[in-house]
Structure formats: structure tokens, C-alpha cells
């Protein structure tokens, strides 16, 4: 038996009910192990707090004491349609790097927004991150309807604000649902408290999301991850990031600029593999010296861009600001790694309001988004994020620490 699994990230402002929603989904789909409710009841009593569904995911003692989520966690549940991985993201600004970590693993996003408070700073920031990371399927849940007497008018007001903001971002929500995670309205069940709403429940909405297939129809890209010597045969290993590889075909490697023939596709205990496709980790035996880590194999006639200078959008995650011209950064994209500098910072943007703070700026502060020009020491092989994602997204490191995540917007400056 095989099953489908879909990962979505749950984002939104602090205290808009993300952890409560997870507890509710697990509870209402019978996904909680026996004794779990009793266990969290006991933990709540020991700390003198009211039982909350959020306890199911907030596992660190500090999280329960403070009643907030600090780090991203992943929880599993199953609907009638498929298995889900919920990636819970903290709603505090100070834990934004944990939120981004979680969101980068997701295939879809659920934005929680309390109708009692309306659209807030982290609602906007998280929606922006979701947009930057290219998550196309976005569900908005308007939570805490119980606090506003299930008012259709209030729902409409908050929805108008949210829609206006999302349309500025260029995000079209897949669907928008008024819910109460605490009381269970429109999560897995419909009650009669919102007769004015006749759309799907949150769970039905999730079941309508599409599973994103691996990019097999895009041009072939095979970044070399490592080279092994097995029984005196040199095998280049890597994951096919896009497209399909056929045994016997020619592969052109960049930046080396060499063309080689694939003699064999190798997988352990499998003989005569004829082809492999996006998402598969394979080995290749070639008719010449195996290219080293960071070389990217592609068809002769359909190559990615090779460049030392390109434009991107980055989210800065370090307390130490980015300085234009700073020389100690490392660029990583797929298996490529190069020293780099930011040679221009075209725009500096407040991720919580989308406000353009400065053009031709000199620095970028924590949680700010920058549209910038990057220069690497040696040429790198890239695609626009909107063409082949796997070769269009990157991280920047300072020392061993990731300080920024970004996407390639223009492969040439």
C-alpha cells in the first residue's frame, strides 16, 4: 500500500491560534495517540494552566510556560484523502528564522488570522515569506470567530484587509474559511453557528490542495554532489533536480564546459537502469574524468546560465546587518559553494509592512528583505527561481552560519 503525503506550513501572528488549530485537527481526525489528552492535561495541571490544544505541539517546557511556540515542529495527521505533515511556525518576530526554516520544507501554506485582532505585523511578514519562497497554494483561515459572535460582518472586514494585502504581494488565496479552532467550527465539522458560510471546512480545503509533482518536464539539471571510487570505477553521485536522464545520453557539465557520455546510471543492487528522473539520487559512470562536486550536468542544447553576477531577493536573518561590499559571505546553491559579496543593494524593504525603506542602501537589518546584486568569486550555474527552483534558490553563510535565504530573480545583472 502506498500513500500520498503533503506538507503544509502553518503561519500567522503570535496568538492567532496556530498551535490550537493543530491540536484541533489531530483531535478531530482521531490522530492523537491514546493517553495523549491525559498526558497534556497532567502537564497543564502541573503548571497550573488551563488545558490547551497547543500543548500537543508546544513541547519545550519554556514553550508551555510562556504559552508560545519557539521552534518549528512537524506533526503528522491523516484525513480520508491523504497523509499530512503540518509544519508549525512560531509567530514571534524573534523566531522568524525558525519560521523560514519550516516554510522552506512546505508545499503549501495555511495563514491563520484572528478576526478579533485582524491582520498584524507577523501576518504580513509570514505572508511575504510564503510569497518569497514561491508557495503557490495558500489557504487563509479566519480564526476565533467565537470571540466575535460568529459575525459575518467582522469576517468580511478582516477578509477585505487581508485580500488587499495579499493582492499587493501578488498572492491569490486558494480559499478563505471562517473558523474557530478552539470550539471546532469549520475545522473538520460544520456547526450551525455560521449559517451564512456555505463553503468547505478547513479539512476539506486541505484535501483539495494539489500535490506538487517533481519537475520532470523541465530541462535536465544534475548537480554533482560527490565522486566515489567503487571497485575501481569512478561514480559521480547527485540528485536529478529537474528533467529526466537517460543512460547513453550526452551530458554537458558547467562551469567546466565539458561534454561526456553517460555510460551507466548506477543505483545499488539495480542493474541496467535505463533512465532516472527529477528527485532521484543516482550515480553516473561517464566516459571521461568525473566532474567534481558543484559541476552541473545539463543537455548540450539547453543549458542554465553561467555567471559571476546576478540579481536576487534575500531575507536577512542575522542580528549583524549585511553591509554592501562585505567580503566574508559564502554563496550556496544546490551543491555549489562560492565566496561572494553583495555589490549593490537596490531596495531595502520592511518585511512586516512591505514598505520600501531605502533605495541604493548600504546595509540590511535582521528581518528585512533586500533586492540586491551578488557577485561570486568564480562563475556559478543558475536559473531564475521562476524557471527551475532548485537552481534558483540559495543561502548565504557567514562562517558556518546561515545568515540569509534568497531566490535568483535575474540570472544576469
Amino acid at each position: 500500500m502506498d500513500s500520498e503525503s503533503l506538507a503544509f506550513v502553518l503561519v500567522g501572528h503570535i496568538d492567532h491560534g496556530k498551535s490550537t488549530l493543530i491540536g484541533r485537527l489531530l483531535h478531530d481526525t482521531d490522530s492523537l495517540p491514546a493517553g495523549k489528552m491525559e498526558e497534556i492535561q497532567a502537564a497543564a495541571e502541573a503548571e497550573g494552566r488551563e488545558l490547551e490544544f497547543g500543548y500537543i505541539v508546544d513541547h519545550l517546557s519554556e514553550e508551555r510556560k510562556r504559552g508560545i511556540t519557539i521552534d518549528t515542529a512537524q506533526t503528522f495527521f491523516t484525513s480520508d484523502v491523504r497523509d499530512y505533515v503540518i509544519i508549525d511556525a512560531p509567530g514571534h518576530k524573534e523566531f522568524i528564522k525558525n519560521m523560514i526554516t519550516g516554510a522552506s520544507q512546505a508545499e503549501a501554506a495555511v495563514v491563520m488570522c484572528s478576526v478579533a485582532e485582524g491582520v498584524q505585523e507577523q501576518t504580513r511578514r509570514h505572508a511575504y515569506v510564503v510569497k518569497l519562497l514561491g508557495l503557490e497554494q495558500v489557504i487563509v483561515l479566519y480564526n476565533k470567530m467565537d470571540l466575535v459572535d460568529y459575525s459575518e460582518k467582522r469576517f468580511g472586514e478582516v477578509k477585505r484587509d487581508m485580500d488587499a494585502f495579499l493582492s499587493r504581494l501578488g498572492v491569490t488565496p486558494t480559499i478563505e474559511v471562517p473558523v474557530s479552532a478552539k470550539c471546532g467550527d469549520n475545522i473538520a465539522a460544520r456547526f450551525d453557528r455560521m449559517p451564512w458560510y456555505d463553503g468547505p471546512t478547513a479539512l476539506e480545503t486541505l484535501d483539495r490542495l494539489r500535490k506538487m509533482p517533481p519537475p520532470t518536464t523541465k530541462p535536465l539539471r544534475l548537480p554533482i554532489q560527490d565522486v566515489y571510487q567503487i571497485d575501481s570505477t569512478s561514480i559521480g553521485v547527485g540528485r536529478i533536480e529537474s528533467g529526466v536522464l537517460q543512460a547513453g545520453q550526452e551530458l554537458h557539465f558547467l562551469p567546466d564546459d565539458r561534454t561526456l557520455t553517460v555510460r551507466q546510471i548506477r543505483k545499488y543492487l539495480e542493474d541496467g537502469v535505463a533512465s532516472a528522473e527529477a528527485g532521484e539520487c543516482i550515480g553516473v559512470v561517464l566516459d571521461g574524468p568525473t566532474p567534481s562536486r558543484g559541476q552541473v550536468g545539463c543537455p548540450l542544447e539547453d543549458r542554465p546560465t553561467q555567471t559571476r553576477r546576478f540579481r536576487g531577493t534575500t531575507f536577512w536573518m542575522s542580528a549583524q546587518p549585511l553591509q554592501v561590499g562585505q567580503a566574508d559571505l559564502t554563496f550556496k546553491c544546490a551543491t555549489q559553494e562560492q565566496p561572494c559579496t553583495v555589490s549593490r543593494l537596490n531596495e531595502r524593504i520592511d518585511s512586516g509592512s512591505l514598505e520600501h525603506l531605502e533605495t541604493e542602501a548600504g546595509r540590511l537589518d535582521e528581518t528585512e528583505v533586500g533586492e540586491l546584486v551578488l557577485e561570486t568569486a568564480e562563475p556559478v550555474v543558475l536559473e531564475s527561481f521562476y524557471d527551475v527552483r532548485e537552481l534558483g534558490r540559495f543561502v548565504l553563510l557567514k562562517g558556518h552560519t546561515v545568515v540569509a535565504g534568497g531566490i535568483v530573480t535575474h540570472t544576469q545583472d
Partner: protein, 265 residues
Amino acid sequence: MDHLSELENKSIYILRESYNQFDNLAALWSVGKDSTTLVWLCMKAFFGEIPFPVVYIDTGYHFQEMYDFRDMAVQKWGLELILARNDRALEDGMGPESKLACCTALKTQALKDCIAEHGFDALLLGIRRDEHGIRAKERVFSPRDQQFQWDYENQPPELWDQYSARADEETHVRVHPLLHWREVDIWRYIQRENLEVSELYFARDGKRYRSLGCASCCAPVPSEAATVGDILAELETTSTSERAGRAQDKEDAYTMQKLRALGYM
């Protein structure tokens, strides 16, 4: 691509990334189903020749079946086995009266000594997010400081599959290639790959072990599941949690957090 192949490919990518990034890598192998799956994935990632040792932490309290299975698998797969054992604590009579103290001495300290002796800069571990809430918070590459502490409030960001792999000199990195697998995925994969696992997992006299550890701290669960297929059928309907038989999870609500902050797996 089917679900199990997706999980497998992701794990193989992480394994190859670890081997590339670290000079002195080892896999931690408890002979349980998860770390046995991990060793099998290493066989696949490295074309049948695992280029680093596997470490077995011997608490002295394990089931005889576990030692037998270990020796069989070492032979079959040609593994380079390293034993980690805190003999001094065992001689001083350390035992499971206090789970926190016992696990810390016989597992965490034994591992610390082993890492120091062999100079490992990274360890592969077969933990999964769905096993325990605290493990759901883990990163794939998770750094540890000199005291082995897990700074769970300030973990580094980890985007897509860009793993910041290199440890500073005073640290080692825990690598978790199975973090995204669930218990049911492991069993389906064991079935698909026809992978041999310890007989303790299969029911005898109406009981079986769902999670393996020390004989003193593991309780079997009532079960009639005698084959992998039976176990899968059982998992479809059971609502008992996997680690329900593991005593160290229960001493108090945060024992796992405390253990893990001190360097436990």
C-alpha cells in the same frame, strides 16, 4: 515518484551530503528498526561499502536477541563496528533506578567518551520526528557544543536542503537522515526492501516490542503481530503511542527534553 521512494531519496541525499562535508563520520546503530533502516540506507547511498564505522552503545542491559542480531548484521553487511561502553559506571553499579541518571551515564557518557576517543566530528542518528514531541523540533543537521548541549532555543536556520554542515572545532554535529519518516513508513519500507529486523519486534506469547532499548526499561505491548504485514495492519488501527513502553519518556513530562539537552539521542 511514490512516497517511500521520496523518503528514501531524501535520506540518501542527506547521507551523501554528510559524508562529503565531514572528515570523521560515524553512524549510531542501536540495532532497532530505525537505525537498522539507517544502516541499510547507507548501504544504498554508498553502493554496498559504507565508508565509515557504526557505533553500538552497549549499556550492558540490552536483550540477548539484540546482541545476536547485531553480530549477524555486522557479518552480513561487512560493517566496521565500534563498541561504546561506560565500564566504570557499570562497575560502580549504575542501574535503571533513576532513568535520567542511568541513561545519561550509560548512553550519553559512553557516547561522549567514544566520540572523544575516535574524534568523530559528526554522527548519523536514526531518530524520527513522530517518535516524540521534542524530536519534532530537531533539525537535520544539529550542532552540539563541547558539553554536548543541544541549544534548542537557538537552533540555526535550515533552508530547503542546504545543511550548514561544518562544525567548529569544539563541536560535533548530529545528523538525522530519518527525521521525516514515520513509524508506519519505516515498516512499509522494511516490507518493501525485505529488510531483516530483530525478532523482538514480532509477537511471542501475545506480546511484542514496538521500540527497543534496555531490557530493564522496555515493556512489550499486547500484540498478535507475527509478521511485518501484521505489524502494518496493527499500526492502521492502534492508538497506543510507539514509545509507550519506554520508561525514560515517562519519569516526568520533560525528562526527554532534559536528557536531550544533556546530549541524549
